[in-house]
């Protein structure tokens, strides 16, 4: 992991020497596909799952609905994922700030849109594209008001991270169901 960080740093330094302008380091997408990253994430997630299990066991046993438990699992998984991003991306910082940015409905009265020559370039985008971009911004935590290029960067990192999350959680689920012994009634030994 440190090796890849070093590479990114030296490449950024070269870029800075060539071009005198401030540029933030682009998060590389490759790390989300490495086995090491997934294993780190899996172990962090298992720790978090143990905490969830302990807290749900001591609390109201049957009153804790399946929904609240699965939501707790989902939030633990997302928080572990955001921590794995190491604060380099907006979506990860938004998740770690408590997810209020995603859940909260911002009061918008009529969306004041400054129309003028300064905004001419933006208005050249067809409205359908803007709507879709806004929908996309709502799907990714913390990215509602982002301009399109930054939004696309966040989206690609977010998608790569989600894919790793799915892979890691599937592995853990397989491991737990194998150890658990009795096959759960809902699932068959189907294709996973």
């Amino acid at each position: 992991m440190t090796i890849s960080n070093g590479d990114g740093d030296s490449a950024a330094k070269d870029g800075r020497r060539e071009r005198k302008r401030k540029r933030r380091a682009e998060p590389s997408l490759v790390k989300w596909k490495t086995e090491g990253e997934q294993k780190t994430y899996s172990s962090k997630l298992i720790e978090a799952l143990r905490r969830v299990r302990r807290s749900s066991a001591t609390g109201a046993a049957s009153a804790a609905t399946d929904h609240s438990r699965s939501r707790a699992v989902r939030e633990a998984a997302d928080r572990a994922l955001a921590a794995a991003a190491r604060g380099r991306t907006r979506w990860s910082r938004a998740i770690l700030c408590g997810r209020t940015l995603k859940r909260r409905v911002l009061p918008r009265a009529g969306r004041p849109k400054p129309v003028g020559p300064a905004r001419a370039a933006e208005r050249s985008k067809p409205p359908a594209l803007k709507t879709k971009a806004r929908v996309l911004g709502r799907l990714v935590p913390g990215c509602r008001k982002l301009p399109l290029p930054s939004l696309l960067e966040e989206v690609s990192d977010y998608i790569a991270a989600l894919e790793m999350q799915v892979r890691a959680m599937s592995v853990i689920a397989e491991a737990l169901s194998a150890v658990g012994g009795a096959p759960s009634p809902a699932q068959t030994e189907g294709p996973i």
Binding site: I46, D66, V135, I159, Q165, I172, L176
Partner: protein
């Protein structure tokens, strides 16, 4: 990386044109969707955004399903099996 160079062009010109955004968009999305969409030309930016939205939604759904499954399994698993699962998945 070439994407860095294209971004430098944007910042130096001060204005982000449609073309540059489209370039960035197709580049990023084709990276992610190489497995899904095959190799045909994705000309429409709207389609790319649409597909990305659906893909993110389906990933969210998968994570939700997996969370539900994990919460059921957590309920059933004993203490020692947790550790066994931990060891097992670390070696996978």
């Amino acid at each position: 990386m070439s994407s860095r160079r294209s971004r430098s062009r944007q910042s130096s010109s001060g204005r982000i044109t449609d073309q540059q955004i489209d370039d960035l968009m197709s580049k990023l999305q084709s990276l992610l969707h190489e497995a899904r969409l095959g190799s045909h030309d994705r000309a429409s930016a709207a389609k790319v955004l649409q597909d990305t939205c659906s893909y993110i939604r389906s990933l969210h759904r998968e994570v939700d399903d997996l969370s539900e499954r994990l919460s059921e399994l957590l309920d059933a698993a004993g203490v020692s099996s947790d550790q066994a699962a931990c060891i097992r998945s670390l070696f996978m």
